[in-house]
Symmetry: C2
Subunit: 537 residues, 2 copies
Amino acid sequence: MSFEVKAEDLAGRVGKIKFKGGSLETPALLPVVNPRTREFPPEGLWQIGYRGLTTNAYLLWRFFREEAVEQGVHKLLNFQGFILTDSGAYQLLQYGDVEVSPLEIVDYQLKLKPDMAVILDVPTGWEASRRRAEWTVKETLKRAQEALNFLKDKRGNILWVGPVQGGKYVDLVAEAAREMGKLGFDAYALGSPTGIMEAYQFDLLTEMVLAAKKWLPAGKPFHLFGAGHPFMFSLAVALGCDTFDSAAYALYAKDGRYITEYGTVRLERLRYLACNCPACRRTTLEDLMELPRREREAFLMEHNLYVCLSEVERIKQSIVEGRLWEHLEVRARSHPALFQALKNLGKHWKTLEKTTPRWKPRGLFIFDEVSLSRPEVQRHREKVFRLLGNLQNRILLLLPEPEAKPYTQAEGYRKVSEILCELEMEGDVYVCFYNPVFGVTPASLADVYPLSQFEVAKPYGKTLLENMVEYLSNLLKESSFRAVIVHPDPSLLSPEQAGKLKATFTGWASDPWSSEALENLRKTLAQLKAFEGFTGL
Amino acid sequence: MSFEVKAEDLAGRVGKIKFKGGSLETPALLPVVNPRTREFPPEGLWQIGYRGLTTNAYLLWRFFREEAVEQGVHKLLNFQGFILTDSGAYQLLQYGDVEVSPLEIVDYQLKLKPDMAVILDVPTGWEASRRRAEWTVKETLKRAQEALNFLKDKRGNILWVGPVQGGKYVDLVAEAAREMGKLGFDAYALGSPTGIMEAYQFDLLTEMVLAAKKWLPAGKPFHLFGAGHPFMFSLAVALGCDTFDSAAYALYAKDGRYITEYGTVRLERLRYLACNCPACRRTTLEDLMELPRREREAFLMEHNLYVCLSEVERIKQSIVEGRLWEHLEVRARSHPALFQALKNLGKHWKTLEKTTPRWKPRGLFIFDEVSLSRPEVQRHREKVFRLLGNLQNRILLLLPEPEAKPYTQAEGYRKVSEILCELEMEGDVYVCFYNPVFGVTPASLADVYPLSQFEVAKPYGKTLLENMVEYLSNLLKESSFRAVIVHPDPSLLSPEQAGKLKATFTGWASDPWSSEALENLRKTLAQLKAFEGFTGL
């Protein structure tokens, strides 16, 4: 039993769980199979491409008891892949009580021989008071300790999951994670987010997952209970969820709903099967409408499962390509609540930054100010803050970004270099480019990834431009150059905005690279040199 | 031969072209088939689900001459669907000259018996000077007139297409369309946008298509030559393109590129087949990499064609559901250049508004200020401007939007109504709600679509809130109420922003619906009444 991380982006990762029956690539969706009804046959899941599933130990205990133990859960369900057994906590949350004790269900799972199993925790739920939430955290931790004591010498090739409770009380989630993390489970999970996801509180979900993950050992798989629509899978993965179970494919199907990239459509409202999955290719809408209810449900389940799987594959491809943020930008337009979560994610860039590669095979796509909060941008902005803060007593020359990338390849930059050379100031002047994406790009770093590897929507919006001036203004306040010279470009900087910068301006020209404008720049530098020579600075 | 529009959204439409061999539902992608190489067999296109294709009459003339005429283009290509023959104008643009005269190729097409055919126009291209562009417009119009004279008594069950030239000179495009529109073609087309699309100038493409469509008869199909990646199909459709040809599926395949929703991935970089199309389901990445080049190309073509087709189906479903704008929001995050085009589209809301339904089966998704430029929002804002402008001499009461929708169902509103009743002011006071989406929602319209049917990302961003105040400020300037009373909600209106509104404020409270805040509101109204009674207003 091991977990290996193969690629990372944001807090998301592609990994591999090795288990006795093989290996499971993560992130993995483990569709929920009700062992009694098996609406969708586990063999069918395998055929679609699922290599793992979730089933319920409590239901197995209630309805199959000895039979399930004799056969083992893999044989009972006729599924050779990875099986997670949940403990009945969901039933506990729904119905208030279950007929089995915490240790009984742990022992029962041990005998079922799944690949991952959950102790019987007490879900906090969505509507719990703070007091109740505190109790669920405490009680879950107590049960966790008892379960591990019980399992001491016989973990049985099973990854035992420690669920982190606390519900919407993020500080409780953090506390629960800190304690749970010390106990030495094989995997961890966020408990009871279902209500939060049903209420589309994806920004709260973000806070909960990040609070939990912060305190848990990074090398262990992290499970999200009860993920819903595939449009939120990429968010869950970006936060660091490695596995997630979902019954949405079946719940939607029973409700007559067909999953699309942006939500669901009731079958009656569907006019086109805009899907290439085998289920959709096999039929026509006309034929579908004529099917008896059960067959229509089976169709919907199959389609929904295909859509969910390809979204997981797409997310994995995004991680290896380093474009998980871009994928989030797309999915964020599936629903305003997801967009809100993406905006909220920016606050956590320092957490996401740690596992975001410094080099990626693709450039960054920058759309608007939301894109600026991505870790690659913030990482650079902070770096420049430190870098410029350490440059004592030099002259800072801020040039506007030229059209060409890297900026240092631009004709205009060559001319500025000549001017500096001619004035014998090249050693003393630190040249940077100001731009609304990275704020400031030092010429010496211009070809370092991603400073030349990005695409941005132009002309820049007002917010992006204002944001740049604010960054510049803060940067200049914190640094100790002996002079700051700004060569203005009216398409990036309005005279009004420029007023916020403590700097000398070379003169306003519609084209900052015209001979006239560059002559102004030369004069300003020459005057500065003469003045400093005169005053002996 | 007829064209019937079945559903509309923005300037996009689902329609049906009836032709001698059947009917073609639009928007339709007509993949380009090279009659010589037929890299992908036309039968295969049909099997995937394509009911139309594009082929090149000039190449047929050069390489099949009599044979093509004897068989007819349908039999020659073994395709029973809709066939568009292009005239060789692309070759003219690429190689500068073709060996056939304009009337010869018209006559040849007449004999080929396609379903839609194009006269031999002179493409303006992408790099033409204005003078050259003017000439291409003139020359194309001349040839168009000659072609129609030639075809006078023998259009041959073919939809003849009049291409609109002008290139990047939008005023020339408009002029060309006005003249071309008078000539009585069966369909129209935008000529030579390929270079513009290759340069990702989707905002310019928007201007060109809308300029052309403005002057062309709305009831005729409109074709876009040389559409590219499927991520731009929805933009093309939203602008009013009914058919488009594209060779991208084959060009990408030859270059080893696999189409994804956000762009393309080189096969070597692909780690996951995140696609459920029959081509992808039939193979594995490992097997793919072992295939000989030609078979790999065939795989890529097939996959690319499936992806393109499902995007078209998705667009049609979006139109019938009235969520084409939502679909554009998603696709706009495929590339910053598309996002730029979406931002630019807002300028044209009046054009798009005409064909955007007043009622839709789904609510609107509002993400940020870009979403505010959608026609449903702007239409309402303009309507309120007129409505309030016509209310002479009354009192305007502006309440903040409550949580509940429709706003008039909120408890707070009921209490305000009681206050008005108690003060006997209900006939004199016109109650509205201010909110960052619609600006102002009159209570009397609160349940009219879409004023209660929308989802918005909350908390509102700064830009949305500023935008609301600007709208309110303009609205108050233009209207002639005898008094304006604003009940402030600090989460929507900062005291600083409120300063921009010429109005009386009832008093600031963190909860505008608290008894205290409502008591303030009552007092303000009572004072106004007393004052007016006293002064005899």
